[in-house]
């Protein structure tokens, strides 16, 4: 926070210094963006700045101010019914829709922040030009600017579109979601009929102290256990499988790889539904085991708390191992073989090579993807929802079952009980926990450290 503050204050100082130093057209640019560029012949750049400013001002007048105002109040006019004499029935008088006001308010704020960035870029650009002038160098033409985007500034070119995409479709929705946690948007305040309002931290205290805590903490524990087990089993066995398939002397490598990879070609909503039937108390697996006399009563694969937990982890291996196998195969083929050769000459056996050379190398390359898988498993909606729907139920929990992850619980809280604010709070807490965890692991991982050395 303080870092941002000092950045802002230092920028402001620069602004005023620059302003005092300059005069005329250049200072006019502080109000009319691009003026200075235009006066110096940078026509395209200047007009881009100018149109950005005009566009922004128009937007603010037409929509922006009211959208930001709406964000503050979240609506005042409630929907109602008015008698329409002509029709002889009551008709709907539309009120404010708190949810939409929240979304569009966030969009407006984002635009304002973006405009500040543009404004700052504009200032930096002026500063750069004046430096060049002082040194008596030529002002770059638009063509030069474009050229530098393919070289020095190549990262900007490559990042531009991904960043916009992420900003619009991930960041804005994310801010919306986080904002919900501070409102009263629950099943009693459903728009469009009802307005909801800002309530501060009330939802947070409700969850951490109230009845929800009794569900939240056990589910958190299981979510972490699940994510760890699911990631670890898939990783270890996936790498082993890759090693096995790529072993010298194995025939039909491609065939085997394809067979395993088949599981990725079948949509999970089908394969998991099938698994569910397969493991049902009177499904084929139990019937078979009973027929050959191994068991006398069906095994409750998905209906007993502990067994269901083991089952979902096992079934997840069916899905996860081929994924890791595929990635690990790619890595294995790329690994430098000189180390292994050297170790072989030194007389190391296969296991030692695996343990001290191959595994660490794979781990090094895969750490980031492992973290991503771990987090993916924390939010692994499909496997749990399609296999058990969170069940078997547990009457000690609030709206949750034994195998419910936080994410499936959230789903139930939003779709089934419409308590968006509570769901959002849980989402935030989960988010903070997993973010802190993975940043912690990531910055301590070899791949991050080693890369630092290179950087």
């Amino acid at each position: 926070m303080s870092q941002i503050g000092s950045t802002i204050s230092s920028s402001l100082k620069q602004y005023s210094a620059f302003f005092k130093e300059g005069s005329g057209v250049r200072n006019l640019s502080f109000i009319i963006m691009g003026a200075s560029h235009l006066s110096k012949g940078q026509l395209i750049k200047g007009s881009l700045f100018l149109s950005a400013e005009i566009g922004f001002i128009l937007f603010m007048i037409l929509q922006g101010f009211s959208a930001i105002g709406g964000l503050l109040t979240l609506g005042t006019a409630q929907q109602g019914w008015v008698m329409d004499e002509e029709l002889g029935i009551e008709v709907l008088a539309k009120g404010d829709n708190s949810m939409l006001m929240l979304i569009y308010g966030i969009v407006a704020i984002t635009l304002c922040i973006l405009f500040i960035c543009v404004y700052h870029a504009h200032f930096k650009s002026m500063q750069y030009i004046s430096d060049l002038e002082k040194k008596g160098l030529a002002i770059p033409s638009f063509k030069d600017d474009v050229k530098s985007l393919l070289d020095d500034k190549f990262h900007i070119t490559l990042l531009a579109i991904p960043v916009i995409g992420v900003l619009v479709f991930t960041v804005i929705p994310l801010i919306y979601m986080i904002s919900i946690a501070f409102t009263s948007f629950d099943h009693n305040h459903l728009p469009p009929k009802n307005l909801f309002d800002w309530v501060g931290f009330a939802n947070f205290s409700n969850i951490l102290t109230g009845r929800m805590a009794g569900t939240f903490f056990p589910l958190l524990g299981w979510t972490l256990t699940w994510a760890f087990m699911a990631t670890a089993t898939s990783f270890i066995f996936g790498v082993l499988l890759a090693l096995l398939i790529n072993k010298k002397g194995i025939k039909g490598k491609a065939v085997f790889r394809t067979l395993f990879v088949l599981t990725m070609a079948v949509p999970q909503f089908v394969s998991l539904l099938i698994m569910r039937n397969l493991l049902h108390a009177s499904g084929p697996v139990n019937v078979f085991l009973e027929d050959i006399g191994l068991i006398s009563a069906p095994i409750p694969f998905l209906t007993d708390g502990l067994i269901a937990k083991l089952s979902v982890i096992t079934i997840n291996m069916w899905i996860g191992i081929p994924v890791t196998m595929l990635v690990a195969t790619g890595i294995l083929m790329n690994l430098p073989s000189d180390q292994i050769e050297a170790a072989k000459i030194d007389g190391a056996n296969g296991f030692q090579i695996l343990k001290s050379i191959t595994f660490p190398q794979i781990l090094f390359v895969m750490t980031p993807s492992l973290i991503q898988q771990f987090v993916g498993n924390i939010n692994n909606f499909n496997v749990i929802y399609l296999l058990t729907e969170g069940g078997p139920v547990n009457s000690n929990y609030y709206s949750a079952g034994e195998t419910d992850l936080l994410v499936t619980w959230l789903y139930k809280l939003t779709i089934e009980t419409a308590d968006y604010n509570i769901a959002s709070v849980i989402g935030i807490i989960t988010f903070v926990l997993s973010a802190v965890f993975s940043l912690f692991v990531y910055t301590r991982s070899n791949s991050f450290k080693k890369e630092d050395g290179l950087g």
Binding site: W81, E90, D145, L190
Partner: protein
């Protein structure tokens, strides 16, 4: 350094601007009332009934030549109607089919039109529970067109008509399949508890503080459920119920009209259907109950053509169409008159559902929005009780908790 940022920012800026710009247009849209224009309406109907309803709607257009109608019939998972309508009322159908228990949520979110014009007609022609289902807080909203209830299927070669009158009679001679241990147990078993003079959200299912599960009767019913585990002739079934019947693992089950055809194929003439039996919770026989569901058409609040949409909804729920729908799709009618129809009377599953709809055999499923908070804990409680995970002395506390969690605040 950041000079080149401008390019991406301007692109971004204009994109977002366009976005915000359009947003206002759509929200300031006026719901005008053009007179000579085309009246375009959309109807959401049940899955697998689209073809049929297209002919019905064509009839409606023919019968109303005064306006130029253009009506689109779309099949939709009507069981999720409230989810779809609430997501974006503008994109929802003008007239949509829904199970009545979602009415409370839709009314509370202001997305459904009051049925003021045809309320009297509906009250007059439909059975009382259906009218109750279509109303919320004293106002009529929906247009009922069918009723649904679970009932008892049994194998006539194993059980007689006399046997299936009591729960004890069934389970003495044959095996009964019930979902007691998996998600969805609440739907079948909660009404059993209600049969023992327990209330769920009061008498009409609209009182947020009217649940009485923690009474001695409630406790008694829960104990009865716990004891089912010891009854070898009560078998837990769920998705496998039909195949379990086929393999002889069970000889009777509780199911809905949608299973009829499949069961008929398996058992043929030996398939029997009956209303629920009585059961003895400890104080003599009590008639077991089922939840009664009513299929409604509703008009969305933001429709551009409210009068026409209501007319269409009323037409779809009219006696004439209910009769036709019964013949074509087999939905049990909610209209008193159509229920007396000879064809309906000759159909055993329809007559059974009509019997089940009587207040002594069923409870109209509450439509209060709090129901959504009731389903999951009810499931948990029933399943844990059945599996012996709740000690007898803790049952009262659990029931207290259930009532507290699911009551209005």
């Amino acid at each position: 350094m950041k000079k080149k940022l401008i390019f991406l920012l301007t692109v971004c800026l204009s994109a977002l601007m366009a976005m915000a710009g359009c947003s206002n247009e759509s929200s300031s849209e006026q719901s005008g009332q053009p007179n000579d224009e085309k009246v375009t309406l959309k109807v959401w109907v049940d899955p697998d009934s689209g073809e049929y309803y297209k002919t019905v709607v064509d009839n409606f257009i023919k019968e109303n030549p005064d306006k130029k109608y253009e009506i689109e019939v779309v099949e939709s998972d009507t069981g999720k109607a409230q989810e779809f309508v609430k997501k974006d009322p503008d994109a929802a159908a003008d007239v949509f089919s829904m199970p009545h228990d979602q009415l409370g949520q839709l009314v509370e979110s202001g997305t459904v039109y009051k049925n003021t014009k045809y309320a009297d007609e509906i009250k007059k022609s439909n059975i009382e529970p259906a009218v109750q289902a279509a109303s919320y807080k004293g106002e009529v909203y929906g247009y009922p067109y069918g009723i649904e209830s679970l009932f008892l299927y049994y194998d006539k070669s194993k059980l007689t008509e006399e046997d299936v009158k009591t729960f004890e009679g069934i389970t003495k001679k044959a095996k009964l399949g019930l979902n007691l241990s998996e998600a969805g147990a609440n739907y079948t078993v909660v009404p059993f508890i209600l049969a023992n003079n327990v209330k769920l959200y009061g008498d009409n299912g609209e009182d947020a503080n009217g649940s009485t599960f923690n009474t001695p009767e409630g406790l008694q019913a829960m104990e009865w459920i716990s004891n089912l585990k010891n009854n070898k002739n009560v078998v837990h079934v769920n998705a496998d119920s039909i195949s379990a019947l086929e393999s002889g693992k069970i000889n009777s089950l509780i199911g809905g009209p949608w299973s009829y055809n499949q069961l008929k194929e398996i058992l043929g003439d030996n398939l029997g259907v009956a209303v629920y039996p009585t059961a003895d919770f400890g104080n003599g026989p009590v008639q077991l109950k089922a939840f009664l569901g009513v299929k409604l058409y509703s008009v969305k609040a933001t429709t551009k053509y409210p009068l026409e949409a209501m007319k269409l909804a009323n037409y779809l729920a009219s006696n004439e169409i209910q009769e036709k729908t019964f013949k074509e799709k087999g939905y049990t009618p909610s209209s008193k008159e159509v229920q007396e129809n000879a064809d309906v009377k000759a159909n055993e599953q329809a007559t059974t559902v009509i019997q089940m709809a009587k207040p002594e055999n069923s409870v109209v499923m509450p439509k209060i929005p709090e129901m959504v908070t009731f389903w999951p804990p009810a499931d948990a409680l029933i399943i844990d009780a059945y599996n012996g995970k709740i000690a007898k002395e803790n049952m009262k506390a659990k029931l207290d908790q259930l009532v507290e969690d699911t009551s209005g605040k």
